[in-house]
């Protein structure tokens, strides 16, 4: 897949990007993904189940994450998600895109003008 094809996935929605980030350090199930997002954002982002699973469904359909059904520690089997190769590359491309934008904004001293360090 060329870089050009990768770009067709971008930009990612905030929730989609957070999900990919949450899966960055390994496999998780849905509830775990939500907790990871909450922890990372300090509670500012806490996706509702509908939003979360809809985004997951889309990412699965696009092949950015893989699903595996597995017995959790207790109870019924749960679906576990992890980044696919493609997903890792798309996430990286999104990071590049964002850092590019951030660098541009820094260059224009946007933050300083807005009174932020």
């Amino acid at each position: 897949m060329t870089d050009r094809d990768l770009l067709s996935f971008l930009p990612l929605t905030p929730v989609a990007f957070e999900i990919l980030l949450a899966l960055g350090d390994g496999e998780r199930h849905g509830y775990d993904v939500m907790l990871a997002i909450e922890t990372r954002t300090g509670g500012r982002l806490s996706p509702n189940p509908g939003t979360l699973y809809r985004a997951i469904d889309r990412l699965v359909a696009e092949g950015l994450i893989d699903v595996r059904e597995r017995q959790a520690d207790r109870g019924e089997p749960r679906r576990f998600f992890r980044l696919s190769k493609l997903g890792t590359r798309v996430a990286a491309a999104e990071v590049e895109r964002l850092s590019d934008q951030v660098a541009a904004a820094r260059g224009m001293r946007l933050l300083r003008r807005a009174g932020r360090p």
Binding site: G30, Y53, D57
Partner: protein, 895 residues
């Protein structure tokens, strides 16, 4: 304040039900996990208080709805390559939603009106689902049948020994099992209290697929072995041994026997048939026992066992019925005295438990349908008024090339958005309503039914909501879209379809009045019936009577002499209490639901079919009739000389029994004998006739009764009856007196009651029903009044110019007013006529619920018609009068 787990569970159930908005594939993949996640979020929120919980739950619902709907849109889009009608319509829906948000007053009025109607509808649908469609939450319910004898609609139970006969003589069933719910009894250890028990044969709980919460069900050998064991309900177990207790071979003493608890079953466990001949008032059981422990286990003459069978795969109810008919014929030969001429039938269990309530559910559905339609009529009028105001906008669109389909789609989209919002609000409201339903209404459901709002109910409610959208939106949309091009050309001219709109509005008034009248007739009849019922003379004195029960369990009272001694002593001491005028005792109180039916044989008067007359036997002490205020109409009451060792065995009959046994002759000094467990009892001489008493509920006619003196029939439980000016103050002194005689005898504290309480309970269900139907009637009346007000307001607003012209030409204000009102009242009259016809047709459904009032009671029909006419007149008069007060000059200004 925190929110309980029950609320979180309810919210989760609703969430699960709402998942229907998601596309099926998505729901199948993630539905369960989404629900789990939602539950976890709710649980976390509950610790932060109610407001936080509500916010989280609402956010979850709305997120689910948006995401689900948008996922559906996506699916639809993926399926169609070009922007299809559907996609177009979805765009219209979005546009409509945005438009409506800008007009919150209009949108809220419509949504609230629809939500009220749909909430009632959803609740009624939930009842329909639980009570009629799926009343048996057991595995393979269609194979469960109730096996009964006799020719009454739902048959009668069997005497326990017939269970073995039925098993031996049939091959249609996988299992045949028996049970008998709602037995009273006394627990003596670990503490003393009155409990309810249910006796089950081997296989009864297994046939119904019941799984214990802890421990196990009975083993087959425990239905035979002499070592007594019991199952208990969870709530009972917790109340005895504490919240944290675990099942660990605890023992209880019940009915004089010590037994080990082997399992715990759900407190919600209800046998599918609750009423039994020994106790028609259904109560969930605390204790479950092997049937062997029941006193009638080997008695062939007392029918206390409900028998259920599970049909073998592929066997029909008719096959089983044919086999049972043969078994009945054989049994009749073998036991001529008991089964003679009795048929044995298999009835689908579903029909037995749901049959009696079907007409009530139909009635409830009819009532909510009326309410919903009245609401729809009001909303149609609003939609029509609003759409008329948008005519110019539509005209512009039409002239810019919008096709009629596009215009209709756009107008319909608004109704869809409104009714969708109405449905969601309605379902939420219904969930709340069901949680707050009076227990008495739930009690009327089949005992095993589970009343919840599941996906089926939500789906049905959504369909009804969609139909409402079509109903309230379609006609205005069609009419206006037809008009639009003409209006584009003709400016403010009136068009032919203004007349059509006026006809529609007239029709709305007629329909609303007709529907409201039907509901009001129902409400009026129920109110009249309740009033009649509350004035029934129960046949005894209610106010000055206090009662308290004792039960003689255990070996100390095994001898009749011991029981007699206790009762004699207690009656004497109780009569001496301050404030007590008379003290007596009876085995079964009137209206308590407990009765003892026995057959009697009258000397020299055999019945036509050779079977004994069934009477209700009551055992009383001499002062009973005096204490409770039952009049002796002939002969004498019992006296102290009617002793246990008297040669002369005596009885007193009530007037109903006197009529039955003496057939017009004098019943005094005739002899009769009771058919008891062990065979016919001794001959009893009738020494008196007393007045009839409503023993079986205020609505039931008095049944034949035979009273016998306690001295000659010392039964095992008695209720003391005290006549006093201050019955409410007697509970403590009475208990102290009885405890003073025997500190170990259980006094049934929960059986202590002033007689007025029992009469009140007999009225409770009719009262709740009447209140319920009346609330419906009041809402219907209000909605109809609002509807008429709205239609007249709108009509006279449109007629402003005409009115102005008339008045400018010299018409008097009064004449104009009369002209408007005459037209409206003609419509109201037509509606009333239609409603009377409809109510007359629907009254059949009400008949079984009414007491002392005919379902076509002319006074009620006339009364509510008049009430409705007056309310309608006021509702029309207010806007009409306002219209005639305007200045003709103002009215004639161009619009």
């Amino acid at each position: 304040m925190t929110t309980g787990p029950a609320t979180a569970s309810a919210a989760t159930r609703l969430y699960r039900a709402l998942l229907v908005v998601c596309p099926p594939a998505f729901r199948a993949a993630y539905g369960a996990e989404m629900t789990r996640l939602f539950r976890e979020r709710c649980d976390r929120a509950t610790t932060h208080g109610r407001a936080r919980f509500a916010r989280i739950a609402l956010a979850g619902f709305s997120d689910l709805l948006t995401q689900g709907l948008s996922a559906r849109t996506e699916t639809v889009r993926a399926a169609t390559r070009r922007p299809s009608m559907t996609a177009q319509f979805i765009r219209d829906v979005r546009l409509a939603a945005r438009t409506l948000v800008r007009q919150p007053g209009y949108a809220l009025t419509v949504v609230i009106t629809l939500a009220l109607g749909l909430a009632a509808t959803t609740a009624a649908l939930a009842v329909l689902d639980a009570a009629v469609l799926r009343p048996l939450p057991f595995p393979a319910p269609h194979r469960l049948v109730s096996i009964v004898q006799g020719d009454q609609a739902y048959g009668t139970p069997f005497a326990p020994p017939y269970l073995a006969d039925l098993r031996d003589r049939t091959t249609s069933f996988e299992t045949v099992a028996g049970f008998s719910p709602s037995w009273g009894g006394v627990l003596t250890a670990p503490e003393e209290r009155a409990v309810t028990s249910c006796y089950v044969s081997d296989g009864a709980l297994e046939t119904l697929g019941i799984v214990p919460i802890a421990g196990r069900l009975f083993r087959p050998e425990e239905h035979q072995s002499p070592e007594p064991v019991a199952l208990v309900s969870e709530s009972f177990f917790r109340s005895l041994f504490g919240q944290a207790a675990v099942l660990d071979g605890q023992r209880i003493s019940f009915g004089g026997a010590a037994m080990t608890i082997v399992g715990i079953v759900s407190s919600d466990l209800r046998m599918p048939i609750m009423a039994s001949i020994v106790n028609p008032r259904p109560q969930p059981a605390d204790i479950w026992l092997p049937f062997r422990l029941n006193q009638y286990w080997t008695v062939r003459s007392v029918p206390v066992m409900n028998v259920v069978g599970r049909l073998r795969e592929g066997v029909t109810v008719a096959d089983a019925g044919a086999e049972l008919a043969i078994a009945a014929a054989n049994l009749a030969r073998e036991y001529p005295e008991m089964s003679g001429g009795q048929s044995i039938r298999a009835l689908p269990l579903r029909d037995v438990v749901a049959g009696p309530i079907q007409s009530r559910v139909a009635l409830a559905l009819l009532a909510v349908a009326c309410l919903l339609l009245i609401g729809c009529a009001n909303v149609t009028n609003l939609v029509l008024a609003r759409a008329s105001a948008r005519q110019n906008e539509l005209a512009v669109r039409a002239s810019l090339g919008a096709t009629r389909t596009r215009l209709v789609s756009q107008l319909l989209a608004e109704s869809v958005v409104l009714s969708l919002a109405g449905t969601v609000a309605g379902v939420a409201l219904a969930a709340w309503m069901l949680a707050a339903t009076p227990a008495l209404l739930v009690e009327a459901l089949p005992p095993s039914a589970v009343l919840t709002i599941g996906p089926r109910v939500v789906a049905a409610a959504a369909i009804v909501g969609f139909c409402c959208a079509a109903l309230v939106g379609l006609f205005p949309a069609l009419k206006l879209s037809k008009d639009a091009p003409a209006r584009a050309l003709g400016g403010g001219l009136r068009t032919t379809s203004d007349a059509a709109a006026r006809r529609l509005r007239s029709a709305l008034v007629v329909v609303e009045v007709a529907l409201a009248l039907m509901l009001l007739v129902g409400a009026g009849l129920m109110a009249a019936s309740f009033w009649k019922l509350s004035r029934v003379d129960p046949g005894f004195d209610v106010q000055p009577v206090f009662s308290t029960g004792v039960a003689f369990g255990g070996p100390r009272y095994a001898a009749a002499d011991a029981r007699r001694a206790f009762v004699d002593d207690a009656v004497g001491r109780l009569a001496a209490l301050p404030g007590v005028e008379t003290a007596a005792a009876v085995n079964r109180l009137p209206l308590s639901g407990a009765n003892t039916f026995v057959g009697i044989e009258v000397e020299g008067a055999p019945t036509a079919d050779g079977r004994p007359i069934t009477v209700d036997r009551r055992v009383v002490t001499p002062a009973y009739f005096d204490a409770i205020g039952i009049a002796v109409v002939a002969g004498r009451a019992f006296a102290l000389e009617d002793r246990f060792d008297s040669e002369d065995r005596v009885a007193i009959v009530n007037q109903a029994a006197a009529r039955t046994m003496a057939a017009g002759g004098d019943p005094l000094n005739r002899r009769l004998r009771l058919m008891l467990r062990g065979g016919p009892g001794p001959w009893l001489r009738v020494v008196g006739v007393v007045d009839d008493v409503r023993h079986h509920g205020l609505a039931a006619p008095a049944a034949p009764e035979v009273y016998v003196p306690y001295a000659q029939a010392p039964v095992e439980s008695m209720v003391f009856v005290l006549r006093s000016a201050t019955p409410d103050r007697l509970a403590a002194p009475v208990k102290a007196t009885l405890k003073a005689i025997d500190p170990h005898l259980p006094v049934l504290a929960n059986n202590q009651a002033a007689m007025s309480t029992l009469v009140g309970e007999s009225l409770a269900r009719p009262r709740v029903q009447a209140a319920f139907v009346n609330a419906f009637g009041a809402v219907a009346l209000a909605l109809a009044a609002i509807g008429i007000y709205g239609v007249v307001s709108y009509t006279v607003a449109r007629m402003r110019r005409d009115i102005g012209v008339h008045m400018a030409l010299g018409a008097r204000r009064r004449d104009v007013l009369v002209r408007i009102l005459r037209r409206q009242m003609l419509l109201v009259g037509a509606g009333i006529a239609l409603g009377v016809a409809g109510a007359g047709a629907a009254a059949r459904l009400l008949e079984t619920l009414l007491f002392g009032v005919s379902a076509t009671d002319p006074a009620t029909f006339a009364g509510v018609s008049l009430l409705l006419a007056v309310v309608a007149l006021v509702a029309a008069w207010l806007p009409a009068r306002r219209a005639t007060l305007i200045d003709p000059v103002v009215a004639l200004r161009p619009e």
